[in-house]
Symmetry: C2
DNA sequence: CAAATGCAAATTGTCTGACATATGAAAATT
DNA sequence: AATTTTCATATGTCAGACAATTTGCATTTG
């Protein structure tokens, strides 16, 4: 593990990279303790503050965790699916909001990815997944539900569908796609008639899942995609007509 | 933006979270300059070192960038698709290697996700995408290619397929799934016969893409998944028979 | 002897103050 | 007017100190 003091990039970034590379290469393994900050400072020939900044960078990526006290220190962290979900969602959300990704593009990607779960979900969905989907459908039909709560329930419905595929890697990858759409969906106002159509499609999807028909789930998702796209197109067109400054 | 000095968690983590939340909520917008470290230290009533550690955490997530000099400072960063790719790949790779995800599970997820591009790729693939796929197939057939180079070319082939869908969100989401598989694939040794079978399937997929037949691409991917799974099963069985300690 | 207590050591977390370095803008010079 | 110099501002790095937390060990106590 070496760094170059003449390199223009920050020493703390170089040190973080050096340690990160060790972890990725498997030379530092899960739960292994890193040298103490003082030792690292000596090894890299930098001050303790610089080492600390490097460690904070790694901590921000959940690559290490720290513990105080006599037997404390920095330990290589086992990245859990939960932590990875959270990071994925944050990144995906910001990516969409900062890069002016159109609703259309994001929506297309989201449903394309979700359809990839259809066959597996049909084959493996448990009663619990089915119950979760039904529960969300029921919630969505409640009168007086705010648009935000409706969207949140929508996300939960789709999460249940995805989790039904019983593949944690798939769930992880789709967390970003499904959840990152929520801020975009929240920009839409749903009329009672809109909601009814969406709920009907959810019901169709849940029925297909119950009957374990993958093609039915996929078809339901495609119909839902078309519904969502035309809904959004309507909302954006109306908005553009009202304030035509751009 | 407030922090709680009595909270057990690190002040730098609290400050990072406070600023991160501002960015996510859109109250700090892209390219906006944050207060200087000294000002932030005063605002949060902490030392400059603590502020710096917080800023390094945010920099590690590409949420800010810093610049030295008179008009320098920390600026809210527009997360690019490239940066997001890289982070996604790092996280996905570590997630798989650290959580003992089976080859089977990862492979299943990867091909399920990739099939979601089939229809879009068939519709939109350009001549350049097709040429890229053909070029990789050609490279894969070269004699004397190492297993690692073969795998790298395999990844490039699939990247071309995914990019053919012409949806940047889809490409981003799939980067993790496709690339994170590479370390797992590298554990496999490919005989000449194995390679020939894989190349034949790649050819089948490229032909379907050329003919713009989405179903053909999907079918080719499914066949490739089966081939990969049986290949891996064989390798792992042989390895287990040789060293049956676990 | 067992349990509670106290203490020392190790380690991270935070603070203070200083200097190095980079950079842009203003001032001085040609 | 163009160029050079100076200066103010900001981040990057360092050194040293103390606070807070945790563990292990020795000591005391029941």
């Amino acid at each position: 593990m070496k760094i170059d003091p003449n390199n223009a990039t920050d020493l703390s970034a170089q040190i973080a990279k050096a340690i990160r590379d060790e972890i990725i290469a498997g030379r530092l393994i899960v739960d292994q303790r890193l040298p103490s900050e003082a030792e690292l400072a000596e090894q890299f020939d930098v001050s303790r503050s610089t080492v600390r900044e490097a460690l904070k960078r790694l901590a921000a990526q959940s690559l290490i965790r720290t513990q105080r006290g006599a037997t404390g220190g920095a330990f290589v962290n086992r990245i859990s699916f939960e932590e990875a979900y959270a990071q994925q969602i944050t990144t995906s959300t910001l990516l969409l909001s900062m890069n002016a990704v159109s609703f259309e593009t994001a929506c297309e990607a989201r449903f394309a990815l979700e359809r990839s779960c259809a066959a597996l979900c049909a084959r493996r969905r448990s009663a619990a997944h089915l119950a979760a989907m039904r529960a969300e459908i029921h919630r969505q039909a409640q009168p007086g539900l705010t648009d935000e709560a409706f969207c949140a329930s929508d996300v939960s419905f789709h999460r249940a569908l995805v989790d039904g595929a019983a593949n944690p890697v798939l769930s992880y990858q789709l967390a970003g796609a499904v959840e990152a759409m929520q801020p975009l969906m929240n920009m839409i106002t749903f009329t009672a008639r809109d909601r009814a159509r969406i709920i009907a499609l959810h019901d169709r999807i849940a029925n297909a899942a119950e009957a374990q028909e993958g093609a039915g789930i996929a078809a339901g998702l495609t119909a839902l995609e078309e519904e969502t796209q035309s809904l959004a197109a309507g909302v954006f067109a109306a908005r553009a007509a009202r304030s035509p400054q751009e």
